[in-house]
């Protein structure tokens, strides 16, 4: 047996939608994270809701990247592929590295299984040119049944434990401490100790099977932990982190959290998550349409709540009129756009960054709105918190952008302490202004005051018609409209956002890699690889897109070459060119609905440098 010390390893669990691959993957990432490895995960669900069992379209995958140091992506390709049936091997093999270890359940490679997976012969390995030496072929189903023979369980229940055998085998491959997995299961099935016990038994059997029979065949990997940050952690998806960010901000601001929403992939999990937490006073309304989701949130904002609406690109199209109303009424509102492939219905389950210009400009009139983009699943928490803080303190709608990749992916989340987060202080109209206050009077930073209904002496009307700067009455005065337009713009421009940070060779880079939002990890991994190959490269990643950080021009103009890499046709590049005089970057654009592939980035960026 060879023990390979590796910096990082990617494992992909794949099987039928019902095979429990997400759970196996989750437990494995938790087990790895517990020893201090860095993790990044990405679930890959089939588009069909209930594809036929064993069919090619019904395969579900869960990829986890574990690393000694920090990992930034779920990995381009995997070092270990678990394929629970023939269809999984057929569809998922393309995600495996040429020297990957492949674990298969030979019991699921019978003639019928092969036919469903569209294999032509029984030599499925040969058909796919897979070297048998790399394959850990085990009669997994049979062994699970044997292992649980005395349990009194029926066959159907036994079959549900197959994923745990695969997990046990992978744990052996990575020399993992099974106790963490056992504890996880004991907690998960606290109310069903019988199930926990069966699962634990099967994990152990998988581990022992690997140890006893394959120690001569496969590699055992060791991922030592470096740079551990002590603390308490949980695994969190981007959508869940976003929901948590909203909850945290509402608590900090002392406001009721209101979500108006309409189900839409890939944003719906935010509605699901927030709907669960009524014990925190969270109010969620599943509205009749996207329009009402946003409009009702705006009504809630007027009435004094922290108002949020969640959607994806097609929903933004419908919400834009109410977002615009929020702009002119100057009420706080957070609009979450979990981007997916477009235009129109496009690629609902896939990831893109094609809504940026829509977020910045997709409304009639001069309608400035702050735009924030989360850079990773865990960063969704901070980004959501920041979006709420800006909305409440500057009395403005804010667009929070994530994407399908960040929303569904997960990472190890160090439990935040709310006390460490900045206070949120909305500009409530001071009581002493009673009698003299009008709705568009502004605080020093240009922000309108908030007079929440219920306060005597501050009755007022807001609306979609232009208002007089002084009296708050409807006004069509040309000078006043020009003034109000400028004041709304100045209010957004005055928002303080953190400076753009430069990573890597910040003093002498020959190439600066620029991106925004969910591509951070891939761009960062590309930079690391290029630097490891001796290149001088730096990275600057935008989280705050409107207003841009103050040092934007300075950073962008400092380096001889800049590439703006994004999953659209050049929307950020265009925005930066509009805002930074004379800035002409190189561009890398890909609109495939899939995360970037680090190797492709490295190849392209390297070519760019050599030009």
């Amino acid at each position: 047996m060879e023990i390979k010390e590796k910096e990082s390893v990617v494992v992909r669990f794949s099987g039928d939608s019902g095979d429990g691959m997400q759970l196996a993957g989750n437990i494995f990432s938790t087990v790895s994270a517990t020893v201090g490895n860095s993790i990044s995960t990405f679930p890959d669900y089939p588009a069909d809701i209930r594809a036929p069992q064993g069919s090619l379209t019904g395969v579900s995958g869960f990829q986890v990247h574990i690393g000694a140091g920090k990992v930034f992506t779920p990995g381009d390709q995997c070092d270990v592929l678990v394929a629970m049936n023939a269809a999984a091997l057929k569809t998922q093999y393309k995600f495996a590295k040429p020297d990957a270890a492949i674990i298969i359940d030979t019991d699921s490679f019978g003639p019928k299984d092969l036919e469903k997976a569209q294999f032509k012969t029984e030599d499925y390995l040969g058909e796919m040119s897979i070297d048998p030496d790399r394959v850990i072929a085990c009669p997994l189903t049979t062994m699970v049944k044997d292992c649980l023979a005395d349990s009194g369980m029926d066959v159907k229940s036994m079959m549900k434990c197959r994923n745990m055998f695969a997990l046990g085998l992978v744990c052996w491959l990575f020399d993992r401490d099974l106790n963490v997995a056992f504890n996880f299961l004991k907690e998960k099935f606290a109310k069903k100790p019988g199930i926990a016990e069966a699962n634990i038994k099967v994990i152990q059997a998988g581990y022992d099977y690997g140890h006893n029979t394959h120690s001569s065949v496969a590699n055992v990997y060791r991922i030592e932990t470096k740079n551990k940050v002590p603390g308490r952690y949980m695994d969190i998806t981007g959508n869940k982190a976003t929901a948590y960010g909203f909850i945290a901000a509402a608590e900090k601001a002392g406001l009721k959290l209101y979500l108006g929403s309409y189900p839409i992939t890939p944003a719906t999990d935010v509605l699901h998550e927030l709907s669960k937490h009524k014990s925190l006073g969270v109010t969620t309304v599943q509205c009749e349409d996207e329009i009402s989701g946003c409009a009702s949130a705006l009504g809630a904002s007027f009435a004094g709540a922290l108002a949020v609406t969640s959607t994806s690109g097609p929903g933004i199209c419908l919400k834009s009129e109410a977002m615009n109303l929020a702009v002119i009424m100057e009420l706080p509102l957070v609009v979450l756009d979990v981007q997916r492939g477009g235009p129109a219905t496009g690629l609902p389950t896939k990831s893109e960054q094609t809504d940026l210009l829509q977020a910045l400009f997709g409304r009639n009139g001069e309608s400035p709105m702050p735009v924030i983009a989360a850079s990773s699943p865990t960063d969704c928490f901070d980004a959501a918190y920041a979006a709420c803080k800006i909305a409440l303190e500057h009395m403005t709608p804010v667009i929070l952008m994530t994407d399908a990749y960040v929303a569904n992916g997960s990472g190890a989340f160090k439990l935040p302490n709310l006390a460490d987060y900045p206070a949120i202080n909305p500009p409530y109209v001071p009581e002493e202004m009673k009698g003299t206050w009008t709705p568009y009077m502004r605080a020093e930073n240009g922000t309108r005051y908030w007079a929440v209904p219920g306060r005597q002496g501050f009755e007022h009307i807001l609306g979609g018609l232009e208002k007089d700067d002084k009296t708050g009455a409807i006004s069509t005065n040309p000078e006043n409209h020009d003034l109000m337009t400028r004041k709304r713009q100045a209010k957004i421009d005055a928002i303080q956002v953190p400076d753009l940070e430069v990573l890597g060779d910040k003093d002498d880079a020959e190439l600066l890699i620029v991106g925004f939002g969910g591509t951070f990890g891939h761009l960062h991994a590309a930079m690391d690889e290029m630097r490891a190959a001796g290149k001088k490269v730096a990275q600057a990643h935008f989280k705050f897109i409107n207003p841009l950080p103050k040092n934007t021009a300075e950073v962008l103009k400092k380096y001889p070459k800049v590439v703006v890499a994004e999953q659209n046709m050049g929307q950020l590049a265009g925005w930066l060119r509009m805002k930074v005089d004379g800035f002409v970057p190189c561009q890398f654009n890909q609109v495939k609905g899939q995360p970037f592939v680090v190797a492709e980035l490295v190849e392209n960026f390297t070519q760019l440098m050599n030009k």
């Binding site: 937490h277 014990s279 925190l280 009402s292």
Partner: protein, 330 residues
């Protein structure tokens, strides 16, 4: 606290002289004073259109929002802040055309909103196009050869959406209007008040049969829960059942006597006869046609939150974090 209509008045209305909105506004001011909810605990929320200017003339909190969305915006305001008394004001275009979806869903959910529908059967602000309540064949700027579509009947739409309250008044009839506004306020849940209102410029005379007192005496019936449905200048007419429907008859003719006249039941859960009443062309039914109690959405949302609070052990963000699978890196 005792209020007068002046406590709810603000500004100088800018509607055309003679517009039905003026009459309605005056009634709303009076009704609010009689109801007695503080102006600062009241929100008046409208969409876009002539009648949607109304919140500008109210000394309460208010929003004059975007076309069609008043009911959706009012929904959020009421659910987020159930202590607020919310009046939603729309015209027939705002409420039933562009805002039709929100109108039906506010009714279906039974949100405690007082929903005013000012029906002049025309688009006034855009200068004279037919609306979803204009009758078939209606000639307007956008239908010079007459419309080829049937109108909505607001009551039918409200009932179809499982609405629990529907009342009707004529804008010029202050007592009748005030009465239904007060009933709408008292009713917990979505309360639709259809106000028949004249547009002097683009659809003058649309409600002529009932627009003045003399016309109403002849052509309208004031419905009162628990009372016999009699009408006419000397109560010489009555509403009787005929087959599956209702009809107006003259007492003493065709063998009908007062004993045959139906007693109005606004509280009846089955809306069949209420719908028949609402749809009568002669006489036009005024007053509270349907007023049935049902759980309101906003109450249920609040109750569910309280229920879950009592069930669950986590009540703040720090406790929420602890509900997850957590590991420690030392």
């Amino acid at each position: 606290m005792a209020y007068t209509q002046n406590d709810f008045k603000k500004g100088q209305p800018r509607w055309c002289p003679g517009c039905g909105d003026h009459f309605f506004l005056a009634s709303l001011h009076k009704a609010m004073a009689e109801i007695g909810v503080d102006p600062w605990n009241t929100a008046v929320i409208s969409g876009i259109g002539c009648s949607s200017r109304l919140p500008h003339y109210m000394a309460t909190y208010g929003m004059n929002t975007i076309h069609g969305r008043a009911a959706a915006i009012a929904t959020g305001a009421k659910v987020a802040n159930p202590d607020l008394t919310v009046w939603q004001v729309s015209g027939d275009g705002d409420g039933l055309a562009i805002g039709g979806n929100h109108f039906i869903h506010a009714n279906r959910r039974n949100i405690n909103l007082n929903m005013i529908l000012l029906n002049n059967r025309i688009y006034g602000l855009t200068k004279g196009q037919y609306s979803p309540t204009s009758p078939r064949g209606f000639v307007s700027k956008s239908s010079p050869y007459g419309t080829v579509e049937d109108p909505f009947r607001p009551a039918e739409l409200c009932f179809g959406a499982r609405g629990h309250f529907f009342a009707r008044a004529v804008a010029t009839d202050a007592p009748g209007t005030i009465e239904i506004l007060k009933a709408a306020y008292e009713h917990k849940g979505a309360s639709v008040c259809e106000i028949l209102q004249n547009c002097v410029i683009f659809n003058n005379g649309t409600h002529d049969a009932v627009y003045d007192k003399a016309g109403r005496a002849k052509n309208a019936i004031y419905l009162k829960h628990g009372e016999k449905m009699l009408f006419g200048e000397n109560n010489e007419y009555g509403i009787v059942q005929e087959g599956f429907g209702v009809k107006a008859v003259k007492l003493g003719e065709d063998g009908y006597t007062e004993a045959d006249v139906l007693v109005h039941d606004a509280k009846c859960e089955d809306n069949t006869l209420q719908l028949k009443l609402a749809e009568m062309e002669w006489p036009v039914a005024l007053g509270v046609i349907r007023d049935v109690e049902a759980p309101t959405y906003d109450d249920c949302v609040t109750a569910q939150i309280e229920e879950v609070k009592a069930q669950k052990k986590y009540h703040n963000f720090a406790e929420l974090l602890e509900t997850n699978d957590i590991w420690e890196v030392k």
